[in-house]
């Protein structure tokens, strides 16, 4: 028996995150028992900060590993005899972005958790575990690993959604997410089983080779896999959990999951479509077209009548999933590039928007009603300005990154001849301006309802919000030419295109 020639460097990003989770978990156990650490007395808040810093360090290492792999441009599989995990420029890029989003979420969480008195170290461990699951998912080239990653991602997030144990809505959110998520996982697993049944293997390559477009078994399997992912990206009609879960979960968890899960699920779906389903069959295009149209329409229209900011942002994220699906409908390199680029930008603007909600939370009284934003420009001018920036970016107004993202998607769609869907997308973007701008209007043009007293912005929140705002502004002006000291030139569009080209084998 010969030992396979394993390539452990493929595991580096996932490994750092997973090890980080263990370290945080063990650290919490020992620190919470100890009274003093290195001679100084320790408090719960201090433990929280330390664990957050530890997670940030491990996530930074993961980002570095992913970046190194991307820069090297290599494409390596973990086990050449049985390729299940592949670290190529696509997965490296997406892994780095996901790890960055997790890192920012950790930084956002420190003050928030302390304020809510739920400053338990498991939080960071769970975030890291979920992140490990996402990294596993996007590196997978085998259905089994995809499912493994999906569950490793989902289960910690079910727990995170109910992290505020004393709050009823948080519990409701966790339970709903868990029940519906399990259902979706079952559907996905069923679909995978059927695909295995047709192809006789679970690797993407084998499925592509053995896929028989005539056989009902293969088609049902394909449909069920699509349904499973449509759930994760909250596409209509599989979206209904989204507002409830986003609303009930602690705001920082919402910020984390709204961004990372979406990126991971979209990237994995992209890989599946590109590698396993051999581009797109004409029938699948129709399905995605209908899903995109429904998602854009329902997401935007339902957002209009929301009175809770987190629900509003939930429907907004549904709508954005619809715009992203347009990129899939095109099936071209431009379209896929646009999706990837959109996801990067979405990370900054959505995390920023939720970050403002997080920063406004105070002593468990979350600033969640849309009305509670009235007059905010007077009491907290900085946060009001940031929120305005994120709102106009989400609405896609020129000068912000959100505009470039939408523009790239729509122009790819027009080039590919997907005209009616683009028209719907543009029209619905107009509708979206109504609910996005409602918040700045309230902040700047209305008197505050009561003498609201808010907490100071913590340094972690300030850092995250500042970074997101800078990204939204800079990428809005220079999406492909931003040069920074140390980091060099940030060519987001080129990077996205490079990895998509590799993915599609062009």
């Amino acid at each position: 028996m010969s030992f396979p020639d394993l390539n452990f460097s493929v595991l580096a990003p996932i490994g750092f995150v997973a090890v980080g989770a263990m370290v945080v978990l063990m650290g919490e156990v020992f620190l919470s028992r100890a009274r003093t650490f290195l001679g100084r007395e320790i408090t719960e808040a201090w433990i929280g900060s330390m664990l957050a810093l530890t997670s940030i360090v491990f996530l930074a290492l993961a980002i570095y590993a992913a970046w190194a792999a991307f820069a090297a441009g290599s494409s390596a599989v973990f086990n050449p005899d049985n390729p299940m995990l592949r670290l190529d420029s696509f997965s490296a890029l997406v892994s780095g972005v996901i790890a960055l989003a997790s890192l920012l979420s950790c930084a956002l969480a420190i003050a928030y958790l302390a304020d809510l008195r739920i400053n338990h170290g498991e939080f960071y461990a769970l975030v890291l575990l979920a992140t490990a699951g996402m990294l596993l998912m996007v590196a997978a080239v085998d259905l089994l690993v995809v499912f493994l990653g999906l569950e490793l991602m989902s289960i910690p997030i079910y727990v995170l959604a109910g992290f505020d144990r004393r709050k009823l809505r948080s519990n409701e959110s966790a339970l709903k997410y868990f029940v519906i998520g399990s259902f979706a996982s079952a559907v996905l697993l069923y679909g995978m089983a059927l695909l295995y049944g047709t192809a006789g293997a679970t690797s993407f390559e084998a499925i592509r080779a053995g896929f028989d477009a005539e056989s009902p078994m293969a088609l049902i399997g394909l449909g069920l896999v699509v349904v499973g992912f449509a759930f994760k990206i909250s596409s209509v009609p599989f979206h209904q959990w989204t507002p409830d879960v986003y609303e009930g979960a602690p705001s920082v968890v919402t910020a984390f999951m709204s961004v990372t899960v979406k990126i991971a699920a979209f990237a994995t779906l992209m890989r599946l479509l590109a590698l396993a389903f051999g581009g797109l069959g004409a029938t699948l295009v129709d399905v995605l077209w209908v899903l995109a149209a429904l998602t854009i329409f329902v997401g935007n229209v339902m957002a209009i009548i929301q009175e809770n900011v987190k629900r509003l942002l939930a429907y907004s994220s549904v709508a954005h999933a619809g715009y992203l699906l347009i990129g899939f409908v095109t099936g071209t390199i431009e379209g896929y590039t646009a999706v990837l680029f959109y996801l990067f930008i979405y990370l900054f603007m959505n995390l920023g928007a939720f970050g403002v909600v997080v920063a406004l939370a105070h002593r468990g009284q979350e600033c969640e009603r849309v009305e509670s934003f009235a007059g905010l420009a007077r009491s907290r001018p900085g946060l009001a300005a940031l929120m305005t920036l994120f709102m106009i970016s989400l609405a896609g107004i020129p000068g912000t990154a959100g505009f470039i993202a939408k523009f790239v998607v729509f122009s790819a769609a027009v080039k590919a001849g997907v005209i009616w869907l683009t028209i719907l997308g543009v029209l619905m973007s107009v509708v979206s301006i109504y609910y996005y701008l409602r918040i700045p209007v309230l902040m700047y043009m209305k008197e505050p309802a009561e003498d609201a007293e808010f907490a100071e912005v913590s340094s972690g929140e300030a850092l995250v919000l500042g970074l997101c705002a800078a990204a939204v502004l800079c990428f809005g002006i220079l999406p492909n030419d931003l040069t920074l000291p140390l980091l060099g030139k940030l060519r987001l569009l080129d990077w996205a295109q490079e990895s998509v080209k590799l993915l599609l084998g062009a």
Binding site: A184, V187, L219, G223, L224, Q240, T283, D286, M302
Partner: protein, 674 residues
């Protein structure tokens, strides 16, 4: 180097802007003064250097170009349009730049004293200098631009600054109203100006040189003269309009707006609501002459458009005499000067339309000196009178503020055309150009010019006598404390007075130049010779020197008559004007109320327009159709879909969600399998 002439004042304006908007702490006053006045003075030095360099070049190659970068680049192939951000210094722009920075620097210094007490909570002092520097920058862009598009940028920039400065004391609603009026009336002219630019561009594009650079216009002017513009046959002069004439007329309408000519002059008298240094700099010396400058700058275009030139000349002539008659009855010291400015600008257009571009530019320069002097002198009077502007409440000031009186008198003599003063020579040139030109009815234009000269002398001396002579009509308390203003205010006036008297030497006509040969005047007509390469060749003066002397004598006599009449009426027999006014009450009221032009405009244009905008455009179309039906209607529909339909699909119950997922999955798989 050229770029620094406009950029220095811009930098100063930017400094003030940053200090006002972002730093928001009181800044030391000496820094404000040093940066503001220093930047303009440095610009003036640079302009002098540029002027000197130009003089060193051969006459036909006298142009310095500073290309900064390609500003607009559009289109492909032989229709590719490109426009540079480039400044050009040629004889005309050099003269203009010297006037703008020179007179500008003096007025900046004057303002230090004039605005000294403006120390309110909105940091009036620094705000004022911010605008003033911004204006200088815009004006220099306008003057130095080497193409029409960049010129338009400066054109709009000076309009903006004019608006900001007229309404500088914005807490008084009337000032804000005057600012808006100036801006809106100018907008009408700007629209025509833009159309003119497009027509020029179109013509040049058809000739294979798609650009709006002045050099290209000059090169292709002769070819453009033959081009036509197809219009619907029912229009007058259809079906083909001469393209140059149309373009030149459009451009001239723009000039009418900016230079306050009939029928768009109404904003200038109201612009006097601004601080007096603003009136001097913007509404007398520089900005309002931009239209004259533009016509001269495009002299090659106007030279091949004889009909348009005739219109220019006639509009100028009619404006000159029209405004002069209004000035006779005004009692506000600044209003008199404002109408006088309108009248003098009319003079310049009269010259330009008759082909006397040199004469127009000459008068532009001398007028800048003496009108700035008069305005600043009026400002000094106003300061001494504690912001009283009505000449009915003045009188007898000549002994109390004798320095102001002296410089003011120099300005009055210059504008009235007293022999030897600058205004005499430039006015003479204009009348000569009108006399010798081929514009239809040029003899009448000449007569109008001479009559206006007489009227000018009359109303200027009326102003002078009412203000400085006779019995004082001011309250006693004020009378006892009256003194000349501080040195900041009075010193620039000496410089301006010097130039008002002697600036005529640069353009000494041949007829007089010969007298002074060997007295330090080496050549006559040096200004004309300097400007000649940059201007379209004008009409030659084919007049004997003796004829010139007779003509000048006639004008001077008429002016002297006007002055004497003013003396008689306002010093010798001060009771007479009232009796005359009563005797011809109808005429007097008509003139006093400025021929009711504002009222007519109000009734014929403004009110119908406001009513139409309010009833139809606002309430009917905007509020009713767009807001009501289109915007709110769709909003209601979309909201209705959500609130009355989709909402019920969202039950909040897990089993409901799963039901929809299941239904969706079945539909999806069902479609795939089919």
């Amino acid at each position: 180097m050229l770029r620094w002439i406009p950029l220095l004042p811009l930098a100063a304006a930017a400094y003030h802007g940053v200090m006002l908007a972002f730093v928001r702490r009181p800044t030391p006053r000496w820094a404000t003064i040093a940066i503001s006045c220093g930047s303009v003075a440095l610009s003036f030095v640079l302009a002098c250097v540029g002027f000197w360099k130009l003089r060193g070049l051969a006459p036909e190659s006298r142009v310095l170009v500073d290309e900064i970068y390609t500003w607009i680049s559009a289109g492909v192939g032989d229709q590719a349009f490109s426009s540079d951000l480039a400044f050009a210094l040629d004889p005309i722009s050099a003269v203009m730049a010297l006037v703008v920075t020179g007179v500008g620097a003096l007025i900046h210094i004057y303002s230090v004293g004039y605005m000294d007490d403006d120390d309110r909570e909105d940091k009036g002092f620094q705000r004022f200098f911010c605008y003033l520097n911004l204006f200088t920058f815009s004006m220099l862009v306008l003057v130095l631009a080497d193409n029409l598009v960049l010129m338009f940028v400066g054109w709009e920039g000076v309009g903006l600054c004019s608006y900001l400065l007229i309404g500088f004391w914005y807490s008084d609603r009337f000032n804000a109203y005057c600012g808006s009026k100036a801006f809106i009336v100018n907008r009408i002219g700007d629209f025509a100006f833009l159309v003119g630019i497009f027509l020029v561009f179109r013509a040049l594009a058809d000739l294979g040189a798609p650009s709006v650079g002045f050099a290209d216009i000059e090169k292709h002017a002769a070819q453009m003269a033959a081009m036509t513009l197809p219009v619907p046959a029912w229009m007058p002069f259809g079906p083909d309009w001469s393209l140059v004439n149309t373009a030149a007329l459009c451009l001239f309408v723009g000039a009418c707006g900016k230079s306050a000519q009939l029928p768009l002059y109404v904003w200038l008298p109201d612009a006097m609501a601004g601080p007096t240094p603003v009136s001097a700099l913007i509404h007398a010396a520089t900005m309002v002459t931009a239209g004259v400058y533009m016509v001269c700058r495009l002299s090659f275009l106007f030279a091949v458009a004889p009909e348009a030139s005739a219109v220019v000349a006639w509009v100028g002539g009619v404006t000159a005499i029209f405004a002069a008659t209004i000035a006779i009855a005004q009692t506000d010291i600044k209003k008199v000067l404002a109408y006088s400015t309108v009248s003098q600008l009319g003079y310049m257009f009269l010259a330009a339309g008759c082909g006397g571009y040199t004469a127009a530019l000459f008068h532009l320069g001398t007028h800048a000196f003496f009108k700035a002097l008069l305005f600043l002198g009026a400002g000094a009077v106003i300061l001494a009178m504690h912001h009283e502007q009505d000449i009915e409440k003045m009188g007898g000031l000549h002994r109390r503020i004798w320095r102001t009186h002296l410089v003011f008198l120099a300005g009055v003599l210059a504008i009235a055309g007293f022999p030897g003063f600058s205004g005499f020579f430039s006015k003479d040139e204009i009348l000569l150009a009108a006399y010798t030109s081929h514009v239809p009815g040029h003899q009448w234009l000449y007569a109008i010019g001479v009559a206006t000269a007489g009227l000018t002398a009359f109303y200027m001396f009326r102003l002078y006598f009412r203000t400085f002579w006779g019995k004082s009509r001011a309250p006693k308390a004020l009378r006892d404390h009256m003194r000349d203003p501080v040195a900041w205010v009075i010193d620039p006036l000496w410089v301006l007075a010097f130039f008002s008297i002697f600036a005529g030497i640069v353009g000494l006509p041949q007829a007089y130049g010969d007298w002074f040969r060997g007295w330090g005047v080496e050549e006559s007509n040096s200004l004309a010779k300097f400007l000649a390469p940059a201007l379209a060749p004008g009409e030659p003066h084919a007049l004997a020197h003796s004829t010139e002397y007779w003509m000048a004598l006639g004008t001077v006599l008429l002016a002297a008559l006007g002055a004497a009449l003013a003396w008689l009426l306002y010093v010798r027999r001060p009771e007479l004007p009232g009796r005359i006014a009563r005797a011809v009450a109808a005429v007097y009221r008509l003139v006093l109320n400025k021929y009711y032009v504002d009222e007519v405009y109000d009734a014929a244009v403004v009110r119908p327009l406001v009513r139409f905008s309010d009833r139809v455009l606002f309430r009917g179309i905007d509020a009713g159709l767009i807001d009501g039906a289109a915007v709110n209607g769709t909003a209601r529909t979309v909201r209705g879909i959500a609130a009355n339909g989709l909402k019920y699909a969202h039950s909040g119950l897990t089993q409901g969600y799963i039901f929809f997922m299941l239904a969706g999955a079945v539909a999806l798989v069902g479609y795939l399998v089919r």
